[in-house]
């Protein structure tokens, strides 16, 4: 499998952003798996791609920029 690099950075990644934190995962896994790998509870967030909500079983594509919105409130 060819892996393309630009300025030393792999382009085969997906970015997940939750508040100010950014996580990188490889493309091809489900969103649920990506969240679990980064110890983010799927129940605790909603995920959007280009402003549209996506479900946990969505397969992440290379170059995806996923915004995570925390939904758990407390106090």
């Amino acid at each position: 499998m060819w892996t393309y690099f630009l300025f030393g950075v792999s382009l085969m990644t997906v970015k997940l952003t939750l508040r100010e934190k950014t996580f990188e995962v490889r493309a091809g896994m489900t969103l649920r798996d990506a969240l679990k790998r980064n110890e983010i509870q799927p129940e605790a967030v909603l995920s959007t791609r280009a402003g549209e909500l996506i479900t946990d079983d969505e397969i992440l594509r290379e170059g995806d920029d996923i915004r995570l919105i925390a939904v758990i409130s407390g106090g």
Binding site: Q41, E43, A44, T48, L53, I69, V71, S73, G74, G75
Partner: protein
């Protein structure tokens, strides 16, 4: 939504949430279309989503925002008020705004600094104040019912806590409907069967602008910890939170609570505000705020 074994597109989801809400309101006899509802709104996703649903279903729903004066660096209270005002204006709805600083002479954080229990965190004073004000304004405004945006995650976390600690009195009272009693408005939670994620999804899909930031004092809250524990359970067993709560509601009637029922008839009127209280003299709210005002005069800037 694995918990319901259901998958919906956006259009059907935006129909499903109001339809389910109406079903819960009718099934649990929360209120009818002829009754006036006061919705406690905080600027957060649940309360604004609830107000949105009730408005779309045609209920007579006004909003109540209580300004707590929690502004710190983020301007949390100011920002949350802005979202409530914008929502009300957008839909032509009535919003009642009660500013604690203006009405009582101190913000919640200031008041908490002048009480013994509130020095570390103002949550105790905050909860006491909100409950009192919501009840009083709902009665004064001749509303029939007060609605809050509590969701299933909120209710399950509270139930979990009450069970862990065997708070029998709270277990007896917890539920989606708190009937009215002399001096107390009927309180309902129309969203109590929705997962927090579901109400958030509704708010996002309906383009409801709400405050994303949490109350700065919510960091480390036990309720959030309990929600995380229940979410771990839910991840392995979809539907577990809903089953836990609904099974409790079914079981509640068959559990013989005795401690709380003996206290029910012993409510008196507060000397100061007239609201119900269990002991003669001032109610907890008036005692607390009298103490705050007294201490502020003695020592305006406590350590």
């Amino acid at each position: 939504m694995r918990q319901h074994k259901l998958a919906l597109c956006k259009a059907h989801y935006l129909e499903w949430v109001p339809a389910q809400t109406r079903r819960f309101i009718e099934h649990y006899e929360m209120f009818n279309p002829h009754e006036r509802v006061l919705v406690a709104v905080s600027g957060g996703k649940d309360s604004l989503a609830l107000w949105d649903v009730l408005y779309r279903l045609g209920y007579q729903a006004d909003g109540l925002y209580i300004g707590l004066g929690i502004d710190n660096d983020q301007g949390y209270s100011s920002e949350s008020l802005r979202y409530c005002v914008a929502f009300a204006e957008q839909h032509g709805l009535k919003l009642i705004v009660y500013d604690v600083m203006q009405e009582e002479g101190a913000s919640i954080p200031e008041a908490a600094r002048h009480t013994r229990r509130g020095r570390e965190k103002p949550c105790s004073v905050c909860g006491l104040t909100k409950r009192h004000i919501m009840n009083r304004l709902a009665l004064d405004g001749e509303y029939h019912v007060l609605a809050t945006g509590h969701n299933l995650d909120d209710e399950a976390a509270v139930l979990f806590s009450n069970t862990l600690h065997w708070h029998v009195g709270y277990l007896q009272r917890q539920g989606p409907v708190l009937p009215s009693r002399p001096g107390f408005i009927r309180k309902v939670k129309p969203f109590f069967r929705f997962y927090e994620r579901e109400t958030a999804a509704y708010a996002l899909m309906q383009d409801i602008n709400y405050i994303y930031d949490e109350c700065p004092y919510a960091t480390g809250a036990t309720s959030i910890y309990y929600k995380e524990i229940l979410n771990r359970l839910e991840a392995d067993r979809p539907g577990a939170k809903l089953s836990f709560y609904l099974a409790y509601l079914r079981a509640k009637d068959s559990i013989q609570f005795t401690a709380e029922s003996k206290r029910e008839g012993l409510l008196l009127a507060c000397d100061s505000c007239g609201q119900p209280t269990s002991a003669p003299g001032h109610c907890a709210y008036c005692r607390t705020w009298d103490q705050v005002r007294e201490r502020m005069q003695e020592s305006p800037f406590p350590e």
